[in-house]
Amino acid sequence: MKVDKEVSVKNISSFYFTLRQEVENSSQIVLDFSDSVRIDTSAAQVILSAAKKVKDLDKSIRFIGVSPGLLKLLKLAGVKLQ
């Protein structure tokens, strides 16, 4: 799943529902941040919650194309990129 250039509270609903579909339909979710430069708290908590759900469902989630700037934000938000 390709993540938008910027994910904030303005487009969080769209991001949330797309990710929700992915979680429901895929066994392995891949979030591609290649085009993404910034996320906000709303996006971070959606990712955190999705990651927990995915683990509960015995599925997996991966993050690719994370820029150093974005990496810092994800880390500050407590998202584990393993």
Partner: protein
């Protein structure tokens, strides 16, 4: 030596940090993407920055601040490590050394610093104007002044209201701003309030943070970050400098548990840890296993945390206290006096009546045990690992190899091997000389190596290990080896050996003769024939020995054998005439009495004795040292068989007094220049006994 002040402590610490930095930077040149080395360099710059600020070295503080920033960018992947960066780093280290210790030979400090700062900024993509503005800004907020008292730790708790997004505020942006004020040491994000993914309202805020921030800014600056959310949200800012500064900067508090480290690494949070601990109690499993099973961390991350835990343990073990080494020397000398005093008491007890002698000897027996333990403890304090000495050569190997256009790697093994600090202090120069030889003469140019089917890069290996109560240091190079024929020809020309000589060992040992060189050219590095004899003398002064093995085309090994300590030895006290002499127990193989039939005189070899089918030379100590003879017939005397360099000789003595710990007192050259004597000791009755240096003794016998 007096007590060390803050500046001395800083300078001592800086020396260590700089040494480690040089090692890491040279290693980074070989492994440009090694994140562990990058992190380590960042930490060292960071520590150097902090310490220099505390000690009031503001120029160093500013400079290392730039280096730290540069490495922060390297760490985050914004900047790739290049040869230019390596050069800048090494030159920066040189400049810091220059500033702190005045080591550099040429140039103007301020110009060098400006040039380096400009190059660092260029690497970071910062123009001069921007940098100046930044510096002014930081100065203005007092970042550089009074840094010692200004480096603080804050615990920040930020719990945001659910509807905060409605006000156009992004908490993550605030946390990001906060992180830009310093270093986030610990970050716990409470995710408990985030609802189930299917039930959450993504437009509501559920997140809260608990952060430990290390910063040079004051509380006001931290508060400024939260200025727009302070009133409506739960924001708590506590200055916890007292609690954290000591732990982080000095590493002097307690060991850390695995869970704590994983929290610090941002892998798990407090609530995760609580759950895991409960599970651990229920399941009686290892914490790390549970964390991996629950998928909270990978095995690799747990392993890293365990390694970090181990490092902390070692740091706590090793760096607990910094003591002036002169104090240790004094302590050792005092212990020596106690040992001598005890020996005197033993002596007195011999002249007492049985009952009192028994009582005194009993008490002395207990005292002996305590003294021995005391000695072992002091010895263990004096023992330091040789690793840092080895590591300091990385820079030397790199620079020397570059100067010669060669590609050479330094491999270090057995850095944990411990040696008496005096030995460590004195072994540096001989090692440097041998490494220089290996680079200059041993290892071939890359093209030559390739032509010989070798890898283009040569390797110099430094290896240390314990064996038979000694420490061995091997200096191995995989170069062209020593040309035996050339050495032999030179030896014959100089009249050092006979044309018929075939012993490889003997021929190779010629390189330790003064002025011996087979090099056609005299260069900056070597070839003057000055050196290996000095190396040998230095090693022998440490009561060690040095030997060389080499195979043409394959490489050379130089092996140094050193005693564990220089201060106290186990010695055998022997009588020769009216004198008492001491033979180091380490060299003694056995003590025997020979039959008259087993004694012979062989032409050209002198007196020999037959020991288990082998003839060995017999030496009369009274003749060597010009003492009045006691027993003159070997079959009536005792023979102490000693060994040096694999060669055995029998030393004739009148009587064996016993064995005891001997505190070595050095004797000046004007008393004797004989290599057969390594020192003296004071006996219990106040007499002085000379200590025989078996190695020098055998050498002198051979030469005469």
């Amino acid at each position: 030596m007096g007590d060390m002040g803050l500046t001395d402590v800083f300078l001592n610490e800086s020396k260590e940090i700089i040494g480690n930095l040089e090692t890491d930077i040279v290693s980074l040149e070989e492994n440009k993407e090694n994140q562990e080395i990058i992190n380590s360099i960042f930490r060292y710059f960071h520590t150097l920055k902090g310490s220099s600020g505390i000690a009031g070295f503001n120029i160093i503080y500013e400079f290392t601040h730039n280096l730290e920033s540069l490495f922060d960018k390297v760490r985050s992947g914004d900047i790739k490590v290049s040869s230019d960066i390596i050069d800048i780093l090494l030159e920066s280290i040189d400049w810091i050394k220059w500033e702190l210790f005045g080591n550099s030979k040429t140039g103007d400090s301020q110009n060098v610093q400006s040039d380096l700062t400009a190059r660092i900024n260029e690497c970071m993509g910062i123009g001069y104007g921007v940098n100046e503005e930044k510096s002014d800004f930081l100065s203005a907020v007092g970042a550089y002044s009074g840094v010692g008292s200004g480096e603080r730790y804050f615990k920040i708790t930020a719990v945001f209201k659910e509807d905060i997004f409605n006000n156009g505020i992004d908490p993550l942006m605030i946390i990001e701003d906060l992180s830009n004020l310093g270093e986030v040491m610990i970050s716990n994000i409470d995710q408990k309030k985030i609802p189930d993914f299917y039930k959450m309202d993504p437009e509501k805020c559920y997140m809260s943070w608990e952060i430990i921030l290390k910063t040079v800014y004051d509380e006001m600056k931290i508060r400024d970050v939260f200025i727009f959310v302070m009133d409506d949200n739960k924001i708590e800012i506590d200055n916890v400098t007292d609690r954290y500064a000591e732990v982080k900067e000095q590493g002097t508090l307690t060991e850390k548990k695995l869970g704590e480290i994983l929290i610090e690494m941002g892998i798990i949070n407090d609530s995760d840890l609580d759950d895991i601990i409960k599970l651990q109690i229920d399941q009686n499993c290892k914490l790390g296993d549970i964390i991996v099973q629950k998928g909270l961390a990978s095995s690799k991350q747990v392993d890293e945390a365990l390694q970090e835990q181990d490092k902390i343990k070692k740091r706590l073990e090793v760096n607990t206290i910094r003591v002036d080494s002169a104090k240790l020397d004094n302590l050792m000398n005092l212990l020596g006096e106690i040992v001598i005093g005890q020996a005197a008491l033993h002596r007195i007890s011999d002249d007492m009546d049985d009952e009192k002698a028994f009582q005194l000897k009993n008490s002395l027996y207990s005292l002996d045990r305590v003294t021995r333990e005391f000695q072992e403890q002091i010895m263990s304090i004096r023992m330091v690992p040789i690793g840092p000495t080895f590591e300091q050569f990385r820079r030397f190997v790199r620079d020397t190899a570059h100067a010669l256009g060669k590609e050479i790697k330094l491999k270090v093994e057995g850095g944990d091997t411990e040696l008496d600090k005096t030995v460590i202090e004195k072994i540096g120069d001989p090692l440097k000389h041998m490494i220089r030889n290996a680079i200059g003469h041993g290892i071939e140019a890359a093209s030559e190596r390739e032509a010989r089917g070798k890898l283009p890069a040569g390797t110099v290996t430094l290896k240390a290990y314990h064996m038979e109560g000694n420490v061995f240091i091997d200096i191995i190079d995989d170069g062209q080896g020593i040309a035996l024929a050339k050495v032999k020809k030179k030896g014959v020309d100089l009249g050092l050996i006979a044309e018929e000589e075939t012993s490889k060992e003997k021929i190779l040992s010629l390189i330790f003769n003064p002025g011996f060189s087979t090099s056609d050219q005299v260069g900056d590095l070597s070839g003057r024939g000055v050196g290996m004899d000095v190396v040998k003398n230095n090693v022998e002064e440490l009561r060690g020995s040095v030997e060389v093995k080499s195979k043409e085309g394959e490489g050379t090994l130089i092996r140094i054998k050193l005693p564990l300590t220089l201060a106290i030895i186990e010695g055998m006290l022997v009588n020769v005439g009216s004198a008492v002499l001491i033979i180091p127990l380490l060299s003694v193989i056995e003590t025997i009495q020979v039959k008259k039939d087993d004694y012979r005189t062989i032409e050209g070899k002198g007196e020999v004795i037959l020991v288990r089918g082998e003839y060995i030379s017999l030496i009369r100590l009274n003749e060597v040292f010009g003492l009045k003879a006691g027993i003159t017939n070997p079959w009536e005397a005792l023979i102490v068989i000693v060994e040096s360099k694999g060669q055995r000789v029998g030393i004739m003595i009148d009587d064996l007094i016993g064995q005891q710990q001997i505190v070595i007192k050095s004797i000046d050259n004007f008393i004797t220049t004989s290599r057969s004597i390594s020192g003296a000791t004071i006996l219990g009755d106040g007499r002085v006994a000379l200590i025989i240096d078996i190695h020098g003794f055998v050498e002198e016998i051979k030469n005469n």
